[in-house]
Amino acid sequence: MDITNEQRGDWQIMTVHGRLDAATAPDFDKSFQTIQDVVPLKVALDLAGLEYISSAGLRSILAAGKKAHASSGKIVFAGLAGMVEEVFRVSGFTAMFEFYSSVDEAVAS
């Protein structure tokens, strides 16, 4: 897995590539910790390069979402496709979070 962090305006943009599962979730958590103290925390997760997400990955994302919520910010998602989108949908994440087709769109919201 590959994660890059980028700041654009008041948005923190995290781009995730590869697989987000039990083995790589701790890396995601660590990467998220570097930005989690920003208030309000507004995170745009670019998941266009994400190939697979397991329940452990979903949990990391939920935890991130909770943090953002607590700081009166939010976490939004961009570029979901295929199996990952399916998992998000089935897991009911679509009801909890906002989704955009691209990061630009997400940041503009």
Binding site: S55, L58, R59
Partner: protein, 648 residues
């Protein structure tokens, strides 16, 4: 292979070198000192010969002088028998070296009436005796001592001879002619003699000390032995006959040189009765004699030999001392090594409590011992840590295994669970991954008509997931038995789970309650992957997803309840993502389409057969690749109410 220790090799090498050097020194010492001694003895020998010859010459010269002066006196003295007698006695009394002296007159010259007149004085038994020489048997004027002096008209020394005239001894005689005035003319009147006893000469010469068995001998002008420590030789042998007899040709050369009046030095090998000798010779010109000194080589070199022996003994003692020292030192070096080897072998065989020998030397061996000690201590610590760590890990693993057993134990395992119920058939299986996971399933009657069954999957793995799973299962049963609809059940359970869930764990759940009288099935789904509905006689289809969130995250969440109807023979297949995400060695997933395709080929089979078929298919797909997630499946086939069941 025989092992040769460092100590032995070191000792052998050093001692071999020392031995070679030592032998070299002893040999060189012997050769050089031998040469020095020989060259010194050459001088000594020559000196000794000279001294001896001078001594003999001095004696003989004194004898000559006496005879000369008598002859001179007689020339014009008034001679009377009494005077001659006094003269003879006085001469012998004053000259101990003279054995006898005679004044021999020409026939009839002293007294015209007497043919013989030759008064002779000589020593006999420590007294001076006198006689008159000359008789019918002893016509003295025919003797060599008389004739030679007379004819040669000068003083001569005779060859040694045995005197039968008066002295009866082995002697040499010095003869001097004397003259008297007869008719105004100086006329030969006779011979004055002085004898020396060869025995006396021999005793004088034997006082010359030439080592223990060295000796001096004298040769006459013809090579006859005049003096020799061997009395048999005197007068009986010449050096030439002796050389012939003993087979020593070199001695004849020496004899020739001596007779010719030469002086020199000669080394003679293996002289009979004496061995190797050095021989010095020189002439006594006055008498035409020759003197030789014989040095036995053994005795001459005895000093050198003794010195060499002493050096060799000292060398040997030194060598032994060196050997002892080398063995001691090399032993001292290798002894700690040998001790270390023994300990190292014991340590190698696992005995880490071996005490490393205390080696206090500040050399490489000492360093090695220190390093070895450190290594042993580290090894011991490491093994102790490892043992502790292993024990700890085993304890944790054992506890995890027990946790897993407990976790698995709370899931119903007895099939068929309700053998008295013919309205439906339920079967479930869980294939745990190596690591503790959080899958769960359950089924139970809410009341007589309503049968509840569910499958869930807790996010993550490990003990937290197992706990969360256990809590979820307990909560579900407690809430479901209150008779609520599936939606409210999940809502309630979600609220309970989400409260105080700091770790953001969650669980996906599919829960259905079937009315076994009618087949009406109500269900709710909290983020769980959609089950498959196998309608008898149709293709399998997904139960439409409700897209409602996973449970345990947000407290105030309402889940909806959906309703579907199952006809007799229809089945519902609920599973966790461990099924569709099971991977083969190349990380390909089993996938939804493959599952749907398999289920399509099965038809309306009993619940257990359905689950087993999927299990077999998954195993065939993964081909033994390690399972990363729990694989949980639950199948429920509806048979219809009691009546219909019997009819069919």
């Amino acid at each position: 292979m025989k092992r040769t220790g460092i100590a032995v090799r070191l000792a052998v090498l050093i001692l071999a070198c020392s031995l070679v050097i030592l032998t070299g020194i002893v040999w060189y010492n012997y050769v050089v000192s031998r040469n020095i001694i020989i060259s010194q003895d050459e001088h000594t020998g020559a000196g000794l010969a000279q001294a001896t010859s001078a001594r003999i010459s001095k004696v003989l010269y004194a004898v000559q002088k006496v005879a000369d002066s008598i002859a001179y006196t007689l020339e014009d003295a008034e001679i009377s028998p009494k005077l001659i007698d006094d003269l003879g006695r006085r001469v012998l009394a004053g000259n101990p070296e003279i054995f006898g002296t005679a004044i021999a007159f020409e026939p009839y010259s002293f007294d015209p009436a007497r043919l013989y007149f030759a008064p002779y004085h000589y020593r006999s038994q420590n007294r001076i005796a006198s006689t008159n020489l000359g008789s019918r048997d002893y016509r003295y004027f025919h003797m060599d001592w008389y004739q030679l002096a007379k004819e040669l008209d000068k003083a001569i020394w005779t060859e040694p001879y045995y005197d039968e005239g008066g002295g009866h001894a082995l002697m040499c005689t010095y003869s001097v002619p004397f003259y008297r005035q007869v008719d105004g003319k100086r006329t030969f009147a006779g011979v004055v003699t002085a004898d020396i006893d060869l025995t006396w000469l021999q005793s004088m010469i034997s006082e010359v000390d030439v080592y223990d068995s060295g000796h001096v001998f004298l040769l006459s002008r013809y090579g006859t032995f005049i003096s020799s420590p061997n009395p048999d030789l005197i007068m009986n042998e010449t050096i030439f006959t002796w050389a012939e007899e003993r087979g020593v040709p070199e001695l004849r050369d020496v004899g020739r040189a001596m007779v010719q009046g030469k002086s020199g030095y000669r080394e003679l090998k293996d002289l009979p009765g004496v061995g190797d000798v050095f021989l010095y010779y020189m002439p006594l010109p006055a008498e035409n004699w020759s003197l030789a000194i014989v040095f036995p080589k053994d005795e001459m070199l005895a000093g050198v030999t003794h010195l060499s022996h002493t050096v060799a003994i000292i060398g040997l003692a030194g060598f032994l001392a060196l050997a002892a020292l080398v063995i001691f030192i090399s032993g001292g070096i290798t002894r700690p090594l040998r001790k270390l080897t023994v300990v190292a072998n014991r340590v190698a065989s696992g005995d880490l409590d071996q005490k490393v020998p205390e080696i206090r030397t500040r050399d490489e061996v000492g360093e090695l011992a220190t390093s070895f000690k450190t290594m042993k201590t580290s090894l011991k610590e490491y093994i102790a840590n490892l043992t502790t760590a292993t024990a700890e890990r085993e304890r944790i693993e054992s506890e995890l295994r027990i946790a897993r057993e407990i976790q698995m134990g709370i899931l119903p395992k007895l099939f068929p669970p309700f053998p008295e119920r013919s309205e439906f058939d339920v079967y479930a299986s869980i294939e745990p991954a190596k690591e503790v996971g959080g899958d769960l399933y359950d089924f139970f009657f809410v009341d007589d008509r309503h049968f509840c069954f569910l499958v869930g999957d807790v996010s993550g793995k490990g003990v937290p997931a197992a706990f969360f799973m256990a809590v979820t299962k307990t909560l579900l049963k407690v809430v479901a038995e209150r008779g609520l609809d599936p939606g409210p059940i999940l809502s309630k359970v979600n609220a309970d789970l989400a409260a105080e869930n700091e770790s953001c764990m969650f669980v996906t759940l599919f829960l259905a309650i079937v009315d076994i009288e009618t087949g009406e099935t109500r269900y709710a789904n909290a983020g769980h992957n959609p089950p498959v509905f196998l309608r008898k006689g149709s293709e399998p289809e997904w139960v439409p997803p409700l897209n409602e969130p996973v449970a345990g995250v947000m407290e105030d969440m309402e889940y909806s309840t959906k309703t579907m109807r199952m006809e007799p023979g229809d089945s519902l297949f609920i599973y966790t993502d461990g099924v569709t995400e099971a991977m083969d060695g190349d990380r390909n997933m089993y996938s939804d389409p493959r599952l749907l395709e398999l289920l399509g080929t099965l038809g309306a089979v009993p619940a257990q057969e359905l689950v087993t078929a999927v299990d077999v298919s998954i195993k065939a797909f993964t081909g033994g690749a390690e399972q990363s997630d729990d694989i949980t499946m639950l199948a429920m086939q509806f048979h219809g109410p009691l009546g219909t069941n019997k009819e069919s």
